[in-house]
Each structure stands twice: as C-alpha cells, then as structure tokens.
Subunit: 529 residues, 2 copies
C-alpha cells in the first residue's frame, strides 16, 4: 500500500461569547529553558491570556526591560548578574576543561561542591520572591489562574501551594528522574528505563542493569540527604508548618515533558504526563541574504551547521584549532556559531558567526549535518528537519541526549575532552556519507511529525484545560496517597507470607502431634504387648 | 477567572495526491463489540480504506448478506447458529438466575464449566479460518495492510503473525487484565490498579489490597493452566513450531482501550495504549414522531430510559413484575426496551419497545436517568450526554463498570438477583432527586468532551498510523524482551545481595581471623611470660 494521505490537523478556535482570558504566572528560568518556554507563552498570549513572568534582577537571559508581549514581575535578589555569570563560567570550566585532569574522587567532590553552590544560588533566587512582602502581596493580589514553571529553579511548587493555584510543569528531565519518579509517581523499572544522565539506553545488558539499579538507588540517597532535606527545611520555615517539598511537587497537575518517542525510549507513564518534545520547532524561514549566498556556494556538498548552544559561545584556543582543522578537511561549507578568537587553522570553507538562525539553517535543503553539544532544543530542531548529527556533549543531559540519537542511528559522538582533528573529521564524514544516518534522521523526523497533534497545540491545550477545570484531578493516580511499601504491596506480601508461614507451622505442628500420638500409642501398645 | 473560551478542535483532512486507501482485515466479533466497532469501520471506509470483515456462519449479530459498505469474508464453522444462541442463553441463565440458588463452590465449578465451553466455542470458530485452505488462501492473497480486532474471540494474533501484517486491538478489558498486563506489558501495581471484574476501585483499604493482589495472582495461575497452555498448544499445532500465544498478543502494535479517565481510574500505561472510550457516541438525533410525543407528555418530570443491552431482551416474569411495579411508582415517563410478555404490574407511565434509539433518548433534554445493565457502550452514551444512572449489572465487566460510575458519584446500583420494587424505586428517585448525581454525571461529561481529540478521530489516526508505518515499533517498550525476573530486577537484586553477603562474610572472617591472631598472640605471650 502506498498511502499518500497527508493529514493536516488544523486547530480552529471557535470563540463563543466574550474572551475572558486566563491569568498565567510564569516562574523564572534561564538559558535554553527560557528559549523553549517562549513559544508556548507567545501562543498563550495569542489566545487571549495574560502572561506574567517573574524575572530575578540577576537574570542572564530574561530581560524585563525589553519590549515584550508578556508582563514582567521583576524582583531583586541578593546576587549580582556578574556573580551569576561567574558561577556559570565556573560550571562550564569544570565540565569542559577541569574534569579531564582530575581522578574520579576529585571529580566527585568538585561536583558535589558545585551542586551545593548551585543549590545555594537557587535558594538565594527564591528568597527574592518569598522574603519580599511586596512581591508576595503582588502575587496574591494577582488572582492568577495557574503557575507555569520549568522547575530548573525550585520554588514554584511552594508558591503555587501558598497562592492555592494549579501548577503545570514543563521539563526535559530531573537528575535520575527523581522529581518525576519519587514525587510525580511515574513508574520507572530500572530494567528498561535508563536513569537520566546515566548515558544508558533502554537496551541494557546485565552489568548495565546493575549499574542503572545502583545509580537510581545511590542518587536517591544522595538527593535525599543533600537536597530534599534542605528544601524541606526551607519550605517548612517559609510556610511555618512541616512541609515536604516532594509532596508539593507531586501536586503538579500536568507534567509537560519535553520529549517524545522520536527522541526518548518508550516507557511507562501516567495520564497527567504529556510528551511535547519539539515544542519550539517550526518550518525554516529564508536565511539572511549574505548567509544564503554563502550556503549556495556549497554546491552539491551542502552545509554543516555547528553550534555549542546558548551557554557555550567559545572554547579554548587549543580545542578551537583542533575543531577548525577538522572542519577545514571536509568538502562542505561550515557555519559555526563562535564568538572566540578566530582559530589559526580555520579553513576557507568555514565561516564564524556570533549568532546563527539555527532552525532555518537546519531546515535548509543544503543542510547535511549538525555538529551540536546535544542540548535538547538543538537536537529537536535537527529531528524536526531530519538532519543527522555529530554530538560533542559536555554536561547535564547532553551526553544522554546524544546517546539517544546515536542509539537511534542518527548521530555519531565525539568526546570533547579528548577530541582530535581526525575523530571529528571522521565523525562528520561518516554521518554525511553513510546513508543510514540520513535515513534514520528522516525516520525520526517522520515520527516527530506523524502524531495526532503538534506538541505546541498539545501543551497549550493542557495548560488551558488546567485553567478551565481548576486543576486536572481526574488524571491524578491514587498512588500519591500510598506509602512506598504500600505502593509495592510489601505490606500485603508480608501479611500473606505471615499467614502462609503460620499455616505451615500449624500444619507441621499438627502433623508432628498426630505422628507422636500415633507412634506414642504404637510404642505403648508394643510395650504393653 | 471565567474562561468562556470554547475550543472546537476541527480535524481537517487535506488529501494530497491520489488516495490509495489501505486494505483492512477485521476479525469476527459479536454483540455489543460489533456495535462498538462499526463506527470506526464506517469512518475508515469514508476515508477511502477497503474494509473486509470475517464473518462466521454461526454469527448472531454480523450478517454478511446484509447490504453494507464493508466487504464480507464469510466462513463456515462446525457450529449452528442455534447452538450459539443456546450457549448464550445458557450463559445468561447462569448469571441472571441460576447463580442465586448456588453456593460458592457450585458457582465456581459451573463457571469453570461455562468458561471451558466458551473456550471450545472460540476454538471451533477459529478452526473455520485456520483449517480452511480456501479462506487462508484468500487472506494471504488479500494483501492486507492491517488486521483490526476486538480480541473477545482469540486467533487474530495468530492470523496477523501468519500473514505478517500489523495488528491493532480494540478492547474494553480482558479478565483481570491478563492480556494487557502479561502480554502487553502495561504496568498494573495491585496497590491502586484494581483487577478488572474485581468490583474494586482505585481507593482500596488493606483488606481490599490483599484481595486484589490474590485475585491477580490466582486468576493468572488459573488462566495459565486452563487457557494459555491450551491456546499455546493449538497455535503451535497450527504453526508447526512451538508458539506462545501471549508472545503473539504482545506483538500488537496499538491497543485501543475503550475507556478514558471520565470512566476509568487513572493508572500507568504505555505509549502504544490509547484510551478511546466513547468511540460510538454522537450527538442526539430527533426521535421518531410517536416517541417524541410520548416523551413530551412527561412535562417537567422528564423521562427515564431503561435497557438491559443487546443480549438481554427480556427477563423472567417475576423480575419483570418487580421492575414494572417500581417504574409505575415514579412520576417520570419510562421507555423500556423489552421484548418479553407485558408485565401485569406495568404502569401507564411506562411504554415497552422492541428497540429504542438509546443514544438519541439519552441526549434528549428530558432525559433524567438511565437504568442500565452497565454495558460499556450504554454507560459511555450516558456519560457523553451527562445522564445519571441506575445500574442493574449482571455479568462480565458490567458490575465493574457500574462500580466505576458509582465511585464517581453518578450512579446507584441495584442487585439484579435480589431486586425488590422498593430498592429500584428508591434508586431511581435518588439519582433523579439528589442533585449531586446529575452534577457528577455532567462533570464526567465535561471530562469526556474536553480532550484534545475525539476518541473516534484518535482511534482512526492510530489505525492509519500503523498502516502508514507498517507497525508502530517506536512505541514498543523494551520490557517485551525481558523475562519477568529481569523486568522486576530480581536477578540484579540477587546479584547485589550476594555481593553484599559475600563482602560481609569476608569482613567477618577477616575480623575473626585478626581477632584470633591478636588474642592468640596475647595468649601465647601470656603463656610465655
């Protein structure tokens, strides 16, 4: 069969009566998370809702003084923008350069140190909201219908609880999925659901399953000790009553997960988890004139797009030269988003840009490959347009993301720490010349597009649903009301086992008693005889 | 906020190029299952697909000689229509009348006997397909793109495997969900997912959780011994190689579950399970003239609609009189689908009909309550139109269905075996006069309508998706490749436990050795001294 039906799902909004839009409060976020959230917020404004975004004074990516269709609620934090930028720089330095010179023990302790610092930073940001009477008064008087949050910065669950309004999360992942699993109650059997940041796929051999199991367990213990307890203490202090942060997170009405089965491995989930990966992707727009001219000079060889994301704008001079040298050896033209010093080895086929229209380039007919750090936004744009990838992942979920695409046959991975010109050149050549990479990228693209509803429409539907119904109670599983041992039926098993043992004991005792009586009699009889 | 946005999602089909529809083979089914399947098949025909339905010669509800938009593939079975009807009569008699005079042991053995007979009947029907060279040749030459099946009669998974085509299931449930759980790998923690036909809800106390746990376990053992082993044997014989029926069922590409969170309790599920309950519901059409006139005579009191479903057309004279007497005591006008002898106690407010346009009556503004046997089709029509229910469940999942609606506050239940005039009258009066029942029915109706896509559109989308993509591999969890102990990480746990025990043993032994050496030396020293 050749089914050439192309189904376009057109969302037609029939607005009846007067449009009294909802009032949506948006939690502060940063970097690619903010980039991802914007299209949803734009659509919500288009649909008549009032969107108010909380912006800390030390925000690097959110600018409350910029003209915008959103309302901003700026708040002061006892952190300067410089200190935030310094922390990010320190964070990047560790993952990009320091780690390679450290042993495992050193990496572990430095990582814990950075995590603690990160946690302190997030609490300082939160203080700007909860400890400010003015802001809290404004939020209470705002009569918001919903709090919408990318929970990279915690606190939104606390504020939603204080304001008594529904909460919708938008997230790619939490470390080892501990928010989704432990608070959201999403099932995650370690036998086929790899923990996030574990770099595993859903196909695990025995040793990988052991690793995954221990990874879940150990991270849960570490998080419980270092993070959850601290957050509980803070929330309890703010609320004035003993408060469990995880319980508040568990009250989230809808979890908009920024993945889908084009990118993620199929797994069990719950009715209030919606998979809306690729929310920000859209068809390519025409390129700026000079860029289009450069692209056209590539001929049949086409172009390679190269970006390390919104946070990493340049790399060390050594790495830059290694990379530039590899790029110089491929026949494609390369567009590299790079703000550092021009590398000496830069070939004539490579052009550096402070900024590139990444989505438009990936959607260009001449796009042959995408060299990426593996951030979810970029990876999704490449999936949307069916472009094979070379991943140079660095931190957070980037190695995981690239491992997903590699497992699906649409990417090669190069290690940033030990990168060589040869490795990178070979990887680019492989994903371009080995047809299977393009075929697999196109397969993922087909899966991405061939779904009942676009991810943006789906996300907006569930946000509006939550406002219309003041929550989404009918999607909340009863598991939230169970303890962990009740959830796993351990109390039931113990009870049944006790009964079985008791019955066995009684049976044995009865048999033994009967046997004794019987033998006893026989013996007495024999004696008597 | 008063959000008066009413969102209509309009599915506009843009057909590009020539429409080369798919070829869909439909597995034979019966009674309400066939009624439910028809709207999907009609829509598939509307969308340019060719639909061929397998019809056994002993079918009660499917008529291959009737003019229809489907193609029929009739096949002979060594069973007469009369014997099928006699078996159904025997089945109904047991559940409706015999059971009340039996003790638990008698019920159990009679039930097993009926189940075995039912199983033999299904195998006899299947023989009509697999043992007929003509039919098998026709099916092979039919070049079908998909097998679509309500698996109430097993065998479709075998034929899909033999023909090498994708399989889509449409089902309300299997007993204790053993197909979905054991073969489809859907997670079902017994702590909050009640086994189907258990009459439990998702809120269980300790004793109910013990019951649910044992119910799952015991039914699984019984099914394994009485059903699965037999089916495996039969399938292996047909295929000529050892074949696991459950493995074949597990290859189902899409499971279209005929429930949704308006009716079912929220639970974990998998990406290839789609919840499309209410697929056959539609807005009410005008009633036949004389029926409308009768309905209008009800005034403000409105009407009560009463049907015991497509299989039960009449009841014993005793029960009929008890029921008619209760109906005579309510102020509403009653429309009762009943083909038996007119009961003596029938009041002037009640009219008997051989057939009623149930959906149109439930959608009538004068509908006040629906007296139902609790079949999923009728229950869904009542949810669609927001009508409170009085359930008189009898067999299969009917008691379960009514328990769901009762738990959601939109129904009262009356026991058919011990029904009294007073019970029924009070139940009807309660659901009509206690406003909470109507409010809850309307809440369920709102949940039913307020979803991103209509259930029919969603079902059709996934059927076409499976054809377009020759399956739905990207939605299949890796759990299918694991054994039960691997799935639950029992091998991993055993390994970790062994290591821990071994390390503890080595540690103790080392300590003990050191202690002995230490004390030994001291002793020797003391001795020497």
């Amino acid at each position: 069969m050749e089914l050439r039906l192309s189904v376009c799902v057109l969302l037609v909004l029939c607005v009846t009566g007067s449009v009294n839009g909802g009032r949506i409060l948006v939690w502060y976020t940063e970097a690619s998370h903010w980039i991802n959230m914007k299209p949803m917020l734009e659509t919500l404004v288009d649909r008549g809702h009032q969107v108010t975004v909380l912006v800390p004074s030390a925000s690097m990516f959110m600018n409350s003084s910029e003209p915008s269709r959103f309302q901003y609620e700026p708040f002061n934090v006892s952190l300067s923008l410089e200190s935030m930028e310094k922390f990010v720089e320190e964070f990047l330095q560790f993952f990009m350069y320091e780690m390679e010179h450290m042993n495992y023990i050193q990496v572990y302790f430095r990582f814990i140190e950075i995590m603690k610092k990160n946690f302190q930073t997030t609490l300082t940001l939160l203080e700007g909201v909860v400890k400010s009477d003015t802001i809290m008064k404004k939020l209470k008087e705002g009569n918001y219908d919903l709090l919408f949050s990318d929970p990279i910065y915690p606190g939104s669950e606390l504020i939603a609880d204080i304001l008594g309004i529904p909460l919708v999360f938008s997230l790619r992942f939490s470390i080892v999925n501990n928010w989704e699993r432990l608070c959201g109650q999403i099932p995650a059997p370690p036998s086929f659901v790899p923990a996030s940041v574990s770099k595993l796929t859903d196909k695990m051999d025995f040793s990988e399953r052991v690793f995954n199991f221990l990874f879940y367990a150990l991270q849960d213990i570490i998080f419980d000790q270092f993070i959850w307890k601290e957050v509980d203490k803070y929330y309890s202090e703010v609320k004035g009553t003993p408060t469990s942060a995880c319980e508040l997170v568990g009250k989230t009405n809808i979890w908009l997960m920024r993945t889908y089965w084009d990118f993620d491995f199929p797994r069990p989930f719950l009715p209030n988890f919606k998979f809306v990966g690729g929310i920000h992707c859209r068809p390519a727009k025409p390129l700026p004139k000079d860029m289009e001219e450069f692209v056209q000079t590539s001929g049949d060889d086409g172009i390679v797009i190269f970006s390390l994301g919104s946070m990493v704008k340049n790399v060390s001079s050594d790495k830059a030269n290694t990379i530039a040298s590899a790029l110089a050896q491929i026949p494609q033209k390369v567009l590299w988003r790079y703000s550092g010093k021009k590398p000496d080895t830069l070939g004539p086929n490579t052009k550096l840009y402070d900024w590139i229209p990444q989505n438009d380039l990936l959607g260009h007919p001449k796009a042959r490959a995408f060299i990426t750090h593996g951030g979810a936004n970029g990876v999704y744009e490449a999936i949307y347009h069916g472009v094979p990838m070379v991943g140079i992942p660095m931190f957070a979920e980037q190695p995981d993301n690239m491992m997903h695409i590699k497992a699906k046959g649409a990417a090669a991975i190069v290690d940033f720490k030990s990168i060589t010109t040869e490795d990178l050149r070979n990887a680019i050549k492989t994903v371009i010349n080995d047809k299977s990479f393009k075929e697999n990228a196109m397969r993922l693209s087909r899966i991405h597009h061939d779904r009942p509803m676009s991810p943006l429409d789906e996300a907006v539907f569930w946000i509006e649903f939550t406002m219309r119904n003041k929550g989404a109670k009918h999607l909340r599983v009863q598991a939230h009301e169970l303890t962990w041992y009740q959830y796993h039926s351990l109390d039931v098993l113990t009870f049944i086992l006790t009964i079985v043992l008791l019955l066995t004991f009684i049976f044995i005792k009865t048999c033994s008693f009967c046997f004794q009586r019987c033998c006893g009699r026989k013996k007495t009889k024999t004696k008597a005889e």
